[in-house]
């Protein structure tokens, strides 16, 4: 059996996934005209960035090692506190990232968290 025939279903699957990923990403940015949108929808879109970023963060920082955790044993959650403070006080993009990654690396180096 040729390589292509052997992997035919996977190749079809990958192409299908490409299609369903690319179309939602490309469609609006290519064809949406902002000036033709009703005002309520434009306001709605202005709330999308904060909502989607917070929604992604919520599932990232409250899960640690694959399980929901709302305690100090959750290093991702603990590290988020000083990071958010630094982001709020300094508005420094790279400073915040350095503090956040530093907290996680230090927490593990100290052996307090795994």
């Amino acid at each position: 059996m040729s390589w292509l025939a052997q992997h035919a279903e996977l190749i079809v699957c990958i192409l299908g996934c490409m299609l369903v990923t690319a179309v939602p990403r490309m469609g609006p940015v290519m064809y949406l005209r902002a000036d033709s949108l009703p005002p309520a929808l434009r306001h709605w879109l202005s709330f999308v960035p904060v909502s989607v970023m917070a929604a992604l963060l919520g599932q990232d920082i409250f899960f640690y090692n694959g399980a929901f955790s709302l305690s100090w044993t959750n290093l991702y959650l603990v590290a988020a506190v000083p990071s958010l403070l630094v982001a709020w006080r300094t508005r420094s993009f790279f400073g915040t990232i350095a503090v956040a990654m530093g907290c996680v690396a230090a927490g593990r180096a100290l052996g307090v968290w795994q």
Binding site: C17, H43, S46, S51
Partner: protein, 253 residues
């Protein structure tokens, strides 16, 4: 053309700084993508996906969570159609991001908007929309330097993981598993430009967590985004109406 050498140098300096701005914007994304893509390459090979097709996925799909869903389900023996449906759902949030960034990219020719859309991820969306909100004047060089660098690091990380998966077993000591979360922590704070935006963000985080724990599977992020943005807009419009403000111009920034 009175002084070609000098204007040439100026133009070169300007385009070089646009390039470096794009590279700077890509830096934290690259830090996060390489280890995650590496892990994806490892998982793909474990899921009976040949390295060449794992790399093809990173070139053609370029979606972190989507590719993990694909490899995971494929490894578990799922059929092509159910994998495609799952990947569609997990990437549906990009429809909303693409719509939100569309007005800022309107000056670009359509083929460039197509390329932008093809390479748009949570992370590239995050850095560019935040730059626009802070008055960044659109520069295609910066935009595409950032996005292409990000995707190249994703493809490179995938190749390393697929071919040399045994080499590195743990990126945890460096805190690299937190790089992308760290970036979103830095990006989400300037998003909270008003009390209403802050409340909307907290609501979205709680909802996405609640939906995930309620067993909504891959729908949680897109559903939380829609509900929270709708609630934020409703409150904004109600307040504007009460104060008799005109809502037809601009966004609720």
């Amino acid at each position: 053309m009175s002084c070609p050498a000098e204007t040439g140098n100026d133009a070169q300096t300007a385009s070089a700084s646009l390039f470096w701005e794009g590279a700077r914007r890509a830096l934290p994304i690259v830090l996060g993508y390489v280890p995650v893509a590496f892990a994806f390459g490892v998982l793909a090979v474990k899921s009976h996906i040949p390295p060449s097709l794992a790399i093809a996925m990173s070139m053609l799909i370029f979606a972190g969570s989507g590719q993990f869903v694909l490899a995971g389900l494929w490894g578990a023996g799922a059929g092509a159609l159910s994998v495609i449906v799952a990947v569609f759902v997990v990437n549906l949030r990009h429809l909303l991001m693409s719509a939100a960034i569309a007005p800022h990219l309107a000056p670009l020719p359509r083929w460039q908007r197509a390329l932008f859309g093809f390479e748009m991820t949570d992370e590239t969306f995050g850095v560019h929309i935040t730059a626009f909100q802070h008055g960044w004047k659109l520069a295609a060089t910066t935009l595409f330097t950032c996005n292409v660098t990000a995707q190249l690091s994703w493809i490179g990380g995938t190749a390393l993981g697929a071919f040399f998966g045994g080499l590195i077993t743990d990126v945890k000591p460096l805190g690299l598993d937190y790089a992308l979360t760290a970036m979103f922590l830095a990006l989400v704070v300037p998003q909270c430009s008003s009390r209403l935006h802050l409340l909307t963000g907290i609501f979205a985080a709680v909802l996405s967590l609640g939906f995930k724990m309620a067993g909504m599977g891959q729908w949680n992020v897109v559903a939380a985004t829609i509900v929270a943005a709708t609630a934020g807009t409703a409150l904004f419009l109600r307040r504007a109406r009460r104060e008799g403000r005109d809502i037809t111009s601009g966004g609720a920034a």
